[in-house]
């Protein structure tokens, strides 16, 4: 008993140290300064302070939840200990900064930062304040952990909602300002800078109570739905699908110009993500040069429809150019596929990476300038027309992206459960055995490259037309990295995963202006955290999760026993 509690305390200190390092890194990265002008709750807490607070809470919470013993007193002590350790590191930073010229090494280690960290209380009082704050917040984290699960969930959801409402103040107010009816609500919820105190409390209580009640009732509701006759259930399902489609169709109207632009970007990356998902997720071929197909789609449309390149235009219809963009991308995919047929893993990754760079350099080269515009790019690319409507603005392009995404999602779902999808799955697990089952590797691989490339070509075609121009620098390696990251975060091979990944990695950062600067830091951190805690992704595919579990078991943990995972086909008891 004694031994476990000591071990728990040590663990809490260790986790506190990790959290402290994260906090110091955040401070030295300049995030606190960047986030400080904005308030989450007006006059009460800034976004910078919230960032520190959330990290502190999360660290203490993790420390408490990892512990072995379940005594409330122990939990409180461990939480408080972790909290104090986190802030100890901040104190160390402040005192080091007071005596050493840290600023010479870290641009952001300025007196201004220390002032922000100590709330302007000066080093001595500030130290005391930080330590006490660590203690209290750590204990609060423990208290949250000790709440009954349903209450805890409600509290966490309510706190997250307040946080989001505060962070997204501009977006929420601008969006709601489209509707006069909401003006009084906005006035009530928001102060000049951040949420009003009354607004924050209202949201906290309303959301907390609502989510608690829902957690009580949801099981009953689900049971009632399960008891309905099948025809009614089907009707219900169709109704919910129709409602979702209606919402999707109305989104640009509700969200306005800026958010439509964000959604367009999500759609763009979703198209690419679904394409790369075919290659990497379904077929298990690691492609680091996926941007090439995006570029090829964009340039094909550009070259076919732009009058800029000093010759007669070939067509002025985007729709006519579109199939060519897709076909050229597919050809490029197959062309890339042929030389890499025998390659696996790392080698494949390196060759595809090279391919992506070659395409970018080719389209930017002086040599091909006459045909592809060189570094000046291609301008005046045609806009799509639907009947009499010309698609020009983000909200109009939204519908193009929506259509494209729905089509591509449909194709992905169909192909995943097809014969070809099974061949990919076998190939992903073991190429040699797949061959021994009579699967033709060459065709199967080329199909993956070709189909994946076609989605990339489609997204490139829409992208070119939306911007009206294409430049070589739009197609750098980072695009491939972003697309791959969103698949990994969402869950490889999982179609809902790609959607969630695109929303999280492309949508979220664009909602936060302050974030732009730290975007890649966020990507990197998200990837590392995901790989450590949830390598199967946010919305994993069932099979992939099992593969990873197997992998962990082979690593020497619990042997597969009576509760071995079982995959039943739908409809089996």
């Amino acid at each position: 008993m004694k031994a476990t509690s000591n071990a728990d305390l040590w663990l809490a200190v260790k986790i506190g140290l990790i959290g402290g390092i994260v906090v110091v890194a955040i401070a030295l990265e300049g995030m606190i300064q960047a986030f400080s002008p904005r308030d989450i709750v007006g006059g009460v807490i800034t976004m910078g302070q919230t960032l520190l607070l959330v990290t502190l809470l999360a660290t203490a919470y993790i420390a408490v939840s990892r512990g072995e013993s379940h005594q409330p007193m122990r939990a409180l002590v461990n939480g408080a200990a972790a909290g104090v350790v986190v802030n100890c590191l901040l104190v160390v930073l402040i005192w080091l900064g007071a005596f050493l010229p840290l600023g010479a090494m870290f641009l952001n280690a300025t007196p201004q930062l220390y002032d922000l960290l100590t709330l302007g209380l000066g080093p001595l009082t500030g130290t005391l304040f930080l330590l006490i704050a660590g203690l209290v917040v750590g204990a609060i984290a423990a208290l949250i952990y000790l709440l009954p699960p349903q209450v805890r969930r409600a509290v966490l959801i309510a706190l997250t909602t307040v946080l989001l409402m505060g962070v997204l103040q501009d977006l929420v107010t601008v969006t709601l300002s489209n509707f006069d009816a909401f003006t009084p609500i906005t006035k009530f919820l928001y102060a000049q800078n951040g949420l009003s105190i009354a607004g924050a409390l209202t949201i906290l209580i309303a959301v907390g109570v609502a989510s608690y009640l829902w957690s009580q009732k949801s099981a009953q509701v689900q049971a009632r739905i399960d008891r309905l006759p099948p025809t009614r259930q089907r009707a219900l399902r169709w109704t919910s699908i129709l409602i979702s489609i209606a919402i999707l169709l109305l989104l640009p109207k509700i969200l306005g110009l800026y958010l439509s632009e964000v959604l367009d970007n999500v759609g763009l990356y979703l198209l690419m993500g679904l394409g790369l998902n075919i290659v990497v997720g379904f077929a298990g071929l690691l492609d680091l040069g996926y941007v090439a197909f995006f570029a090829i789609g964009a340039y094909t449309v550009g070259v076919l429809t732009s009058p800029e390149l000093g010759r007669a235009i070939i067509t002025d219809s985007w729709w006519l150019a579109l199939p060519f963009a897709v076909i050229v991308a597919v050809l490029a995919g197959v062309l890339l596929g042929i030389p890499v047929l025998r390659m696996r893993g790392d080698y494949l990754a390196i060759v595809t990476l090279g391919f992506g760079e070659i395409i970018r350099i080719l389209v930017g080269s002086d040599f091909l300038r006459h045909w592809l515009g060189g570094s000046q790019g291609v301008l005046l690319i045609a806009k799509p027309e639907v009947g009499p409507i010309k698609i020009i603005n983000p909200p109009e392009f939204y519908y193009l992206f929506l259509g494209g995404c729905l089509l591509v999602i449909f194709i992905s779902m169909r192909v995943k459960n097809s014969r070809l999808g099974r061949a990919w799955m076998a190939m992903r697990e073991d190429e040699d055995v797949a061959q021994a089952m009579g699967i033709e590797l060459v065709a199967t691989k080329l199909m993956a490259f070709g189909l994946g490339a076609s989605f990339g070509g489609l997204s490139g075609a829409i992208f070119a037309s939306k911007l009206g121009s294409v430049y070589p620098h739009s197609f750098n390696f980072l695009v491939s990295v972003n697309v791959l990251s969103l698949i990994i975060i969402g869950g490889m091979g999982s179609i809902p995963g790609v959607i969630v990944g695109a929303l999280a990695l492309v949508g979220l950062p664009e909602l936060l202006r302050e974030f732009a600067e730290f975007r890649y830091l966020f990507y990197g951190a998200a990837l590392v955290v995901m790989m450590l805690t949830r390598p199967e992704g946010l919305v994993p595919e069932a099979r992939r999760r099992i593969e990873l579990e197997e992998f962990r078991e082979e690593g020497g943990e619990s042997p597969p026993g009576a509760d071995a995972p079982v995959l039943k086909p739908a409809g089996q008891p």
């Binding site: 014969r419 021994a436 060459v442 099979r543 197997e550 071995a564």
Partner: protein, 237 residues
């Protein structure tokens, strides 16, 4: 005429000359075994027959038709099935899905269903575990699954690469019984084994391979009596 005929094949891994002129035949309805020590070239022979490796010299014919240049999937379709070394089953697929994967190249649904039933009667333990994931099966069950999956390709010649490897004696017994039973039902089998004693009990004829060459070939009965086999492979004094 022999059903499967391997004629003087030479296979290489880069510069390594792994098979230095292997010849063997398998007649319809036979169990033929290929025995040899670690690294003798047994698996390489199987890979060359199944098309994952191509021989630099020599010919392989199935019912008189040359198959040595064909890609693996074409060879599977012509009727050579295999259970690879080390029971490489699909870990994330269920037992049933693994078996269905074996029938990937086939389109005749009723025949596939019949073969599936056949595999499940042959291996009742697999039938009990239809929806369990391949990766969670025990070693013996995985071996059964690998054999079952090979049977699902509906082979005319079934090649088994060390089916008894790493199994407890009771299971070894059971696997060899199954092999015999399969053969009695009409399947032609090329059995690769290190367990020479067992292999020579079930086989009709056998070949002994050493460093890429056949050093001895005879009926199983004669091989059991031969000096070389007794000393080197049966561990007798």
């Amino acid at each position: 005429m022999a059903m499967l005929q391997v004629n003087d094949i030479h296979s290489y891994y880069g510069h390594i000359h792994a098979l230095k002129g292997i010849s063997l035949t398998v007649d319809k309805g036979e169990i033929v075994t290929l025995i040899g020590a670690n690294g003798a070239g047994k698996t390489t022979t199987l890979k060359t027959i199944s098309g994952t490796m191509h021989p630099r010299h020599g010919a392989i014919t199935l019912d008189g038709e040359h198959i040595e240049g064909l890609p693996p999937h074409a060879i599977v379709m012509r009727g050579i099935g295999q259970s690879p070394e080390g029971r490489k089953i699909f870990g994330a697929l269920t037992v049933q899905e693994n078996l269905e994967m074996g029938a990937y190249a086939r389109t005749d649904k009723p025949a596939i269903a019949r073969d599936l039933d056949f595999v499940f009667t042959l291996f009742p333990r697999l039938a009990e575990r239809k929806f369990q994931l391949g990766g969670t099966l025990s070693g013996g069950e995985q071996q059964m699954l690998a054999m079952g999956r090979a049977l699902m390709t509906h082979p005319r010649v079934l090649m088994l690469d060390e089916p008894s490897m790493g199994l407890a004696p009771v299971l070894v017994e059971a696997i060899f019984e199954t092999i015999q039973k399969l053969n009695q039902e009409g399947t032609t089998i090329l059995l690769i084994e290190q367990n020479a004693a067992k292999a020579l009990q079930v086989a009709k004829r056998g070949y002994v391979i050493e460093t890429g060459q056949i050093v001895l070939q005879d009926t199983a009965e004669n091989l059991r009596k031969s000096e070389l086999v007794r000393k080197a492979y049966l561990g007798e004094m």
